[in-house]
Symmetry: C2
Subunit: 201 residues, 2 copies
C-alpha cells in the first residue's frame, strides 16, 4: 500500500474502504442477465437498482426521499462481501442471515473513520428494517429487479428451481400494497408468466 | 415482451429503458480490478465511483450537491451502450468522441417518456460540460477511480501502454486545483508510482 506514505489517517481509512469494496464484483448472484447469457454480480445489480429507483421514483410511497433511498441502495449489499449472497427462495440460509450480515456490516464499515462508520451502518440498518417510506421503496427496487430479469429471461431462476407463483407473490407481499402501480405490475406479469409456461401455477 | 400486455404506455417505456441499460454490463473498460485479476465493466465502474462520491464528499468543491452528483454519475456512462468505452490515453478516438456520445445519449434517453428523456439528458450534458461544482466533483470521481486501480494493481494500464507521469497529471489537471486534498493525493501517489517503477517519469 504505497498510499500509506502519502495520505493522512482519515483519507487513508477512506481509501482502504474503497479498495476493499472492489470485492463485491466477485459476489455472484443467482439472477441471470436479461438475455440469460450469464449471472450477474452484486456491483452490477446495485448499479441497476439505483437506475431503477431514479426511473420509477414517481411510484414511490408518499414521503420517500430519492436521495436517501439511493444511499441505502448503494450500501445495502456490502455485507455480502463476507456474508455472501443468500438466494431468495433458500429457507435454510435465511435462518442465520441476519446474524451473518450484521457481523459483516460491522467488519466493512469499521474500515472507515468513526463518523462515517456510524452513518453508513445506520443507513444499512434502516434498509434492513424497511420501516420508512424510503427504506420500503429501496427494498422494492431490490426485489423487483430479479423479478424483471426472470420475466425477460423467460423463467431464469424460477424455472431452474421450480418456483411457483404463490412463492413469488409471497416474496413481494411486504411492499405491493404500499407501491400499488408496481404491485399491480408484479401481479399481472407473474400471471402472464404462468400462462407463458415459465412459472408454475 | 410480455409486459406489453400488462403495462400502460408510460410504465412500458420505463421498463424498456431499464431492460436496455442491462447492456452496460457488456461494455468492458481498460481498467483492471484492484487485484489485477480482470478488467471491469461500466456498470461495476459506475457503482464504485458512486461509493467513492459518498465516501469522499467532504473534499468536494463548495456548492457541490451530493444528490445531484450521484444522479450524474449514475447516468454518465450510458452513452457507452452504443458509443463504446474510449481509452483515456487514446487521442485518435477522442477526436469524434463528443459526436458519437451525443448521438448515443439521444438514442438511449429517448426510450423514456418525454419528461424523463429531457431531465436525464440534461443531467448527462451537465456532466459533460463539468462547469458546475457537482459536475466537477462527479468527473473527479470518474477519473480518480482508474487512477487508484492503477496504483493498487501496481501499474495496470499505465505499464501496459507505457504511460508517463506527465500524461497522468495532464489528465487530472482540470480538477486538481478545485479539489485540493485529492489533487495532492494524485500528485504524491503518481510520484510514488514512479519511484516504485510502475509509472514512467
Amino acid at each position: 500500500m504505497i498510499e500509506r506514505e502519502v495520505a493522512n489517517g482519515r483519507l487513508l481509512r477512506q481509501l482502504r474502504f474503497i479498495k476493499e469494496i472492489d470485492g463485491l464484483k466477485d459476489v455472484w448472484r443467482q439472477t441471470y442477465r436479461v438475455d440469460g447469457s450469464r449471472r450477474e454480480n452484486d456491483a452490477e445489480h446495485t448499479w441497476e437498482i439505483m437506475i431503477m429507483a431514479v426511473t420509477l421514483y414517481e411510484y414511490a410511497p408518499p414521503g420517500t426521499s430519492l436521495f436517501h433511498a439511493l444511499k441505502m441502495l448503494l450500501f445495502h449489499d456490502l455485507v455480502e462481501l463476507y456474508a455472501g449472497d443468500t438466494f431468495a427462495y433458500d429457507a435454510d440460509s435465511h435462518r442465520d442471515k441476519n446474524e451473518r450480515e450484521s457481523r459483516a456490516a460491522e467488519r466493512v464499515f469499521s474500515l472507515l473513520p468513526k463518523d462515517q462508520h456510524e452513518t453508513f451502518r445506520r443507513l444499512w440498518q434502516e434498509y434492513e428494517d424497511a420501516d420508512t417510506a424510503s427504506g420500503q421503496f429501496a427494498r422494492c427496487m431490490d426485489k423487483l429487479q430479479p423479478f424483471l430479469h426472470n420475466i425477460h429471461s423467460r423463467g431464469g431462476t424460477w424455472k431452474q428451481h421450480g418456483i411457483r407463483r404463490q412463492q413469488v407473490l409471497e416474496r413481494h407481499r411486504d411492499w405491493m400494497d404500499q407501491i400499488p402501480a408496481l404491485g399491480e405490475l408484479v401481479e399481472k406479469l407473474s400471471h402472464a408468466a404462468v400462462k407463458e409456461g415459465f412459472l408454475l401455477e
